[in-house]
Symmetry: D2
Subunit: 302 residues, 4 copies
């Protein structure tokens, strides 16, 4: 495994820094693009890591998987009345599709879908973001995980497009709480700072039939685990989900902070991080590293 | 395995006939909806079957996988300049997305994408449909496979929407041959008649790293096999690909003739057939049977 | 003229009450649909009226012409950098087009466009709605004009779709003030209550090269007057602008309160009111009355 | 009048040649962009002209008004079941809107609408293009008018997008004849060659309540004349109809050959020609000339 990580690092080195760090808010724009880390956490409890694998970064959209898991734990199958399970076929923040489909977002990993999921969690928890952070601390075994409030604040300040989506869903009756409140919870969850090691551990239950070796509990059922993985496989990588399945072939989820998490069912979870993004908003070196990984292990789910 | 088939049949029986047989052309509308068959062909060469598993039916869109495989054999990776690999997020025959994306169809399994693939095969073969039929006869080990020319003729007569898509792609420079010629080849391939047994055998190379136990040859490489399966997983089931992944969890492809093929990598290929379709055009009982199957074997790729 | 009004009333009588009173907010839903009134105010200062011509009603979108006029007075030609002058070709509150056109609404008479115009007026006036009401009181010569605060409040409560549009425009940098503030001003202006007589007088400057015989001032220039009339002619009647031009042939603007104002350049302004609306949201009897009018006078601008 | 023409020529001179000659087919691309002509034909039979007013050019989309008039003469009001009367709000050859509106084009001046109108004329005439040319020869009083068959042939060769639209409409049941036949008639009508003088005369009936002083007959009724003018006013100038109404304020129709025709009801018809086009496909100098004209005469229909 360790030699696999070295091979991947070697393959990907020339791509590190290629692309553009997310700069839609100042707080994200200052990250050094020349960072790169990987961590693998296997179902038998081994941790393998290389590069900047312990540097915390803004998890951003990777948080959508945590929110979804939290909502599934409470709402089970009923939640799919408010959000779809189909790939979107359009850029991740498009209002067009939302309008044509009467306020039901296509899946929980586009922004509109994640907002509806946040709205569900808002209805359930008194302080949704603290509930979420507590949940993620337990999954990752790291009680020190912090929210970057400056990032959350800055996202809120530039909330316009997300606000537009939330209000549009409210106009279709698919929003229960105050838009402003849900936006604050949502941005706080996106602003969690975690390292590759933290994330590989926190996602390990998805590689392990829903059981977390870290927290020692069955997080969601085996069937729900397969479902979350299926959603990541079809919709986890913005408008690159199809070619990610084509080239990498395992469920994955990325964030504009440069993190990409992937799940190799029944074997391990892996997190790659490198801040410079390609044109659709996924980490250039991160996606390349996962492609290199599946080439080397000669295996994908398909 | 045989008892699995009996369980599935039992589970699905009440759904057989539920929905609506494809009736956009008269030649398809006359099929008896109360038919149901399954065939499984395992990588170790065993065949399991139940119900109407030897009744030939119109394979329709399932032919898109054969056309794609034929094109991959010749064009390799270069073919992805003319067709994408992303889910479409819109009904299978929409021109809207084609127009917004400048004539490059989203994937080879929506009609526009299949037309481009047919155009590629048209550039390569003198008589593309005969080349295709020969290819499928070898893959299925059934030299008697026939084309239903009445169906092909009838599809051609109502070709308008497909013609519109082909001409639109030609307006963007993404079409090489005469539209009318390609349409005829395309409709002929859709009009192949095959049984569940034929299809399970013909698709077995996709469950077996690209090697066909039937024809005794490596059809495409192991990597290309994973890629075709990945495409089926993200885009094989019209606008139900996501929920098919969510509920069934294996690569699949359906046709309006009521057939659904699924691939369980490294294990077996399976074909289910029942002519009555649900609202998005997939076989009602067919999809339910595959869902029942993955529940019983407690396994999906995810 | 008076006999013309009687003829129109006679023609239209059977249509009064046909359609559906706007019911998206309770405060509008209670209006008696069986009301009908017309008032004509000619350039030589004569007033002609029939039916419920002095009953005040909620002017709703007719207020968009007043807002536009107020903005033109201040911003002149520079305002067209923030809002277009083309018909929209889509229902009046669609976000789709707004997204494709990067937050620049197509014209000032769709909701998005009116919100941008309100945002301009918000930047200019300390209390925009009072400035607007004062302006309209002067134009109509009726110092008693009132705002129906219950209607404004109710619109605000169901502001979701308008909020979505405003935030979407803000995401494109085409909004200067707080969304919530502009929405309040906007809804207050829509909630002005005016009668046919009030409106015919208030719009008379548009029939009179920009000069108001009521307030005794040149409201906007002769050229600007022609421009406002041109905008009403191409975009004033929601998704019925074209057939209104086809059948009636004069600039017009309608509101969901059931009012329709029309301008016969160099001759007179006319306001018709009847609360029941057709399928695109224009007064059924109102549009029919104006059609009857142009038939009887055998004249249109075209 | 003659001095008005000199003033306009003077105003517009710097713009002649600005923009880009239509080059989507070779036969159009070779026109010298530095040409400019105007002809005015008044209701009292006077002809005024300046510049290259007698040079024939390809009338292209201006022919849509002739086709429409021909169809109205035969089908009257029934024709509006197959084509709408609303502005399109999207580029002139978009399939998107056609798909959303089930194959009913928005108006007769976008390509899809003109194809439906051509299909109507195809159902009526044995040799539709000869009927059309004969009609236009009579309207213009020029029996020598010719079709540029090279242009028609070249348009047909690049027919793809128009073919796509026609087939799409056929898929919705809104097309009666063979697509290829209608396309040939359509392109032949677009390929008529006429000068400014020819066009000003041929359009004079629209300025004159439907009566042609040239052919000495009532071409269509007075009411139909107003309707055609209304359609030109709301939809005649591609995606610039609104700002043309705003700036020029009279009904107009343009073609990619660089011609623009305008109708000043009850006074005169005017044709301007200059081949270089602006970004939406209207003659740069042509539109500017008409804007200059309405400024000088201080008059528009609004």
């Amino acid at each position: 495994m360790q030699s696999l990580l070295r091979q991947i690092l070697n393959d990907v080195q020339p791509l590190v820094g290629e692309g553009k760090v997310a700069d839609y808010i100042p707080a994200l724009a200052n990250v050094d693009p020349n960072q790169f880390g990987i961590a693998i956490f296997s179902n038998d409890g081994e941790l393998y890591e290389i590069g900047d694998s312990q540097v915390p970064f803004s998890i951003q959209s990777i948080s959508k998987v945590f929110s979804l898991t939290l909502a599934i734990k409470h709402y089970g199958d009923t939640m799919w009345q408010r959000v779809g399970r189909e790939p979107s076929g359009l850029p991740f923040n498009s209002l067009v599709q939302l309008e044509y489909e009467n306020g039901i977002p296509r899946n929980p990993f586009i922004n509109a879908g994640a907002l509806v999921v946040s709205d569900m969690n808002q209805s359930r928890f008194a302080t949704p973001h603290y509930a979420m952070r507590e949940f993620v601390r337990k999954l990752s075994g790291n009680p020190e995980l912090q929210t970057d409030h400056k990032v959350a604040e800055s996202e809120y300040e530039f909330r316009y497009r997300n606000a537009a989506m939330a209000y549009l869903m409210q106009s279709y009756g698919n929003f229960e709480n105050e838009v402003e409140d849900v936006l604050r919870s949502y941005f706080s969850s996106c602003a969690l700072r975690m390292s590759c090691v933290d994330l590989a551990k926190a996602f390990s239950f998805l590689a392990n039939k829903g059981f977390s070796n870290i927290s020692g509990e069955q997080v969601i059922t085996q069937e729900e685990t397969r479902q979350v993985n299926a959603l990541m496989a079809t919709s986890g990588m913005y408008d690159e989900a199809g070619s990610f399945a084509f080239k990498v072939g395992v469920p994955g989820k990325s964030g504009v902070g440069g993190g990409v998490i992937a799940v190799v069912p029944n074997r391990f979870s892996v997190c790659v991080w490198s801040p410079a993004l390609n044109s659709v908003g996924n980490s250039t070196a991160g996606v390349a590293a996962l492609e290199s990984m599946t080439k080397h292990i000669g295996w994908s789910v398909y």
